[in-house]
Symmetry: C2
Subunit: 412 residues, 2 copies
Amino acid sequence: MKTASIVSIGNEVLSGQTIDTNASYLSGELLAIGIPVVSVYAIGDDIDSIARAFCLAAGDGDIVLATGGLGPTDDDVTREALAKFLGSKLVFEEKLLRKIEDFFERRTVEMSPRNKVQAYIPVGSKALENNIGTAPGIMAQAQGKLIIALPGVPSEMKQMFEESVLERLKEVAGGQALAVRKLKCFGAGESSIAELLGPLMQRGRDPLINSTACHGVITLHIVATAGDEDAAKEMADEDEKLLLNMLGELVYGTGEQTLAQVVGQKLRQGNKTLAVAESCTGGILAALLTDVPGASDYFMLGWVTYSNSAKISELGVGAELIEKYGAVSEPVAVAMAEGARRKGGTDYAIAITGIAGPGGGTEQKPVGRVYISVVWAGRSETKGYFFSGDRDSIRLRAAQTALNILRLKLMI
Amino acid sequence: MKTASIVSIGNEVLSGQTIDTNASYLSGELLAIGIPVVSVYAIGDDIDSIARAFCLAAGDGDIVLATGGLGPTDDDVTREALAKFLGSKLVFEEKLLRKIEDFFERRTVEMSPRNKVQAYIPVGSKALENNIGTAPGIMAQAQGKLIIALPGVPSEMKQMFEESVLERLKEVAGGQALAVRKLKCFGAGESSIAELLGPLMQRGRDPLINSTACHGVITLHIVATAGDEDAAKEMADEDEKLLLNMLGELVYGTGEQTLAQVVGQKLRQGNKTLAVAESCTGGILAALLTDVPGASDYFMLGWVTYSNSAKISELGVGAELIEKYGAVSEPVAVAMAEGARRKGGTDYAIAITGIAGPGGGTEQKPVGRVYISVVWAGRSETKGYFFSGDRDSIRLRAAQTALNILRLKLMI
């Protein structure tokens, strides 16, 4: 099996300013074509450190993917470092300069003379086109390893990887096949799911099953390896079926699906519409729903009734309800949802009211207390929840939980 | 100057499933106490690879901070790898086991026998308490370097770092002082700001000034080093003043401030209120505003009028306006903002309408076209924008731009 090592270059990666998303993006892409990443080296903009990292990475993997340090400024020294590692020199390529000049011309921006440095690449290496930025990538071979340097700007890096690198790496990977499936779950913690799956999650098992958690969404990864693609796919499919059976409605989707996408699909299929009324989540539920292209087919409108008077004037919540039970209460959640459904003229409505903190909590209603109500055709389901974590987590968790409640309703 | 190297341990870091936020958190914390991180090594759960990474890291820095691999499962091998690197053996500590047992007892959960492995640490090293999880950390010294292993779960890692590691590292750092300032800018690109600042951003200058960009927000970092704290602070303050003068109203805040926080502060100071009406941003603007604790002081309510009929019924936008100019147009943006201000009874109102894509664009109104209107006391400012990027970027950029327009209004 071919393996890869990643080199992340740039002082910003080491100063805590930038989270290195390039490494995780490349790791995921490589794994998907059957090339596991075995190590990642992050170093600053220093020629010797970078050259040493190239050396270490080439020792670890068959492929070395570097990002960063290809820009036009003084601290962009990946070109020099790569030449040093390769034992070659930088050479000026007229053709590259013309492409960089074209880039500025198209934008009717004058090129700074210092961009000229980006037209230099190590002798014997190949430039990779950058269609959305000025930094060309570099591909070289050394010691039987394939070395690829990509820009550090994530959008440029991704586009170059997809357009000029991926196909080449698939060829390199040839001969081994890997099938990856992802199951997305909501409604149980990571440890409960691990408990449910028991020995299936044992290390060393093939397919390998592992889990990651993010704001209540548990993603189960099934990674099957085999001699050919069909065999790997079959193994992965079998495990996927097994997990779906074991986890039932805890699984809401596959791949990169979000809860909002799944809810949207079900609404669209049923030709149903939705309105939402939010207090503590302050627009997050609507934002999640409208994050899905084409959401206008089923999502009609939302209210962020942050103040009590907005709950009364916009959603028709009774002032006496708020007085008697408080804005964070089951009756107010129901009234908000009913008001949203009535005013929106939709099939379904969701309302959320709660205390996201850090202030505003009391002994009876602590920070994290949230009421969620879903109403449809004269019926409703309303429940109180307690979410732990900070303001962000509580808000996101509440919005996701609301989507999950509607998902389960729409499954019936 | 003392330096540090970070070792991130875990297959999940290499599979692209988990973005390594631990490394960037630790890098930032270390830099803030004057210990720059010079390298990061990420490797999988393999004893030899981890031991080698410890070795490389100890070669790079005076301090080695490792995260991950301290859990109770078979693939948690950081303990063994650290013992191997130190040339010592693992020893069972009764006291540690009792703490782990206590942890389960407090939660009235039965301890799994496999948690017992967490009570082993290398001979001669010191355990670090974990108050919110079961994995104790480990601190050891070798070859004149300080080696610290922390859990991989971010919340446990952070708490342990703050409670048991930070003070010790401050002692180690002693003798050098560092002052860091951050200026947050909006309204110009990273390269334009670099152009404006010119030689100030030169590499090697002290204070060092560099920039990072995220969804239109440019963060300028000023890092000053000196023999003592006062001198470093003075240098950083001087540069901060210089930059503020040069960049003027491009700078919206300092530190970790968001545009929504700054807008909120200004509204609160002026005792003003705000309502928002969103179409393409679908709740993001409201979510950003309500992300700020206490936003209920000035943020009254928001509408996500995704459908045309919602724009008409909820905000009183004239149907003929939509017919004549389209929902994505300047007149409709103004009408939405005016409707929101009137119905919300607020001092200010913002409205956003646009095409976030990927579908829905036309030649006249391509994906990325967004109209933003801000109205107040019988006056309004409305403008058409064109944002590039994907749906996510366009939506976030539109919402941030709207906040920036209001910020500039509130400065007058």
